[in-house]
């Protein structure tokens, strides 16, 4: 067995490991998309005014969050087909999307909830006073205010999920970790391919987290569009406001 790091092996393994990148990134997007949609479903179900249902949904979310995603993944892949009546055998990729997606959807649902709760009660009252339908209240008034502040948090979860996706290699989804492991098993060299996996994750995660920090700054100034466009313009508008205000005193 090789104990020393060898550049020849590194260069040979690199393109092979890289072949799995498409799958890793694709699976991340699929899981994240699934979690984004499913997160909404949790929140929607919990808002139905039916006590037993709310209790059931809350308990299910707690259960999913309190068990390891790997166990859930194994359950869906190995145990689910044996459940009488509803059990079906699924593709590894589908299993991974379901397993990781559902697990993280419970966290994403909490993020949505925090965003919705952060919208002032007065916004609901004003939209009632203007006679908006329940659907329009959500679509035009509440969600446009609730979702933007959660975007940085959602972005963080995207990166977390990107780092959790290698779990899927345990059920045979061909991501970069799977490729590196296969290469290692075939050539009896694990140091180089796994180093490559580490480098690829770092190279993608770190810039993404910087991007999300920038996004956070943008989101925090979102209702003050002039402030983003031009600071001097904003100064002028404040002066205008002060003048205006004093003009109207009766």
């Amino acid at each position: 067995m090789n104990t020393n790091f060898r550049w020849e092996t590194f260069l040979e393994a690199f393109p092979i490991v890289l072949k799995g990148l498409g799958m890793t990134v694709g699976l991340t997007f699929a899981c994240f998309g699934f979690a984004l949609i499913f997160g909404f479903l949790w929140i929607f179900l919990r808002r139905i005014p039916n006590k037993p249902l709310v209790w059931l949904v809350t308990w299910m979310m707690e259960f999913i969050r309190s068990t390891p995603p790997l166990v859930q993944l194994f359950f869906i892949y190995y145990a689910w087909p044996m459940v009488p009546g509803v059990g079906v055998t699924l593709e590894p990729f589908t299993c991974a999307v379901l397993g990781i997606g559902i697990h993280y959807s419970t966290y994403i649902g909490e993020i949505y909830r925090s965003g919705i709760d952060s919208v002032d009660k007065g916004q609901w009252e004003a939209s009632t006073a203007l006679n908006f339908s329940t659907a329009d209240k959500w679509k035009k008034i509440i969600l446009p205010q609730a979702i933007p502040p959660t975007i940085p948090m959602l972005g963080n979860y995207f990166i977390i999920m990107f780092k959790e996706v290698p779990l899927a290699s345990t059920i045979g989804v061909g991501g970069i970790l799977f490729m590196a492991n296969s290469y290692g098993a075939l050539n009896f060299a694990y140091l180089e391919p796994l180093t490559i996996v580490g480098i690829i994750f770092l190279a993608l995660s770190y810039p993404s987290s910087i991007l999300i920090k920038k996004l956070e700054v943008k989101v925090n100034t979102r209702f003050d569009k002039n402030a983003v466009l031009s600071k001097s313009k904003k100064k002028n508008s404040i002066q205008e406001i002060n003048l205006e205000g004093s003009d109207h005193i009766v």
């Binding site: 009632t128 203007l130 035009k140 406001i241 002060n242 205000g245 109207h248 009766v250």
Partner: protein, 272 residues
Amino acid sequence: MSKILVKNKENDILLNSEPIVKYRNVTKSFGDTHVLKGINLDIHPGEKIAVIGPSGSGKTTIIRMLMTLEEPTSGDILVNGTNLWKMDKNGSQVRANEKHLRDVRGEIGMVFQHFNLFPHMTILENCMSAPVHVKKESKEEVRERSIKMLERVGLGDKLHFYPSQLSGGQKQRVAMARALVMRPKIMLFDEVTSALDPELVGEVLEVIRDIARNDEMAMVLVTHEMDFALDVADKVLFLDQGVIAEQGTASDVLEHSNNERVQSFLKRFRRV
């Protein structure tokens, strides 16, 4: 307080018409706290009513129940003869659902103490959103009407500003324009100057005065501005401990009332 009361000439005619809103033995409790203990009140088309009284007397709750933001504990509120909080279902009266509330509250508008403008929309969009999405009116027509309304409240040069860029007084004027664009038959004002800096109160009262003089809608103002109430209101209600303790014309209540509670309230109020 030596103002000459300008009486609404059409007042008598208005009072002879059928009330647009009727409260019948309306009560409201929050847990063990009985906020309102049997309110009976008629609001006639075009009538301007000021509601005054100590804080905690239930003034705001009265109008919040009409706006369907608070459900009465008992009693009925009728809007144009339709029971607001109850509806017929297979011959028996049941609690109103959202659809029923939507059908009945369409003619009511409200302005809030804390403005509650939509922060993600410009002030023009704030005015346009409800007529376009709720009443499904044509965008061009609503746009024109909204601009006219914003000009009327003195903000015609700020159409594309966001609420965060405005002063409190300006925000409140936008909130009034937003409610007026919906052309309500009844407008409710919930302590609309209470959250404002003192120097901004005047500009808001001026707009309300303008609406009261020139628009035909009924108005209910919960207010702490006594001189203002005397000036614009046809009728003043004095609310104390959950009941209407005194009512009458503005000068009856504010200047000539023999009711002890009214007097002690006004005395306390004027000392400040």
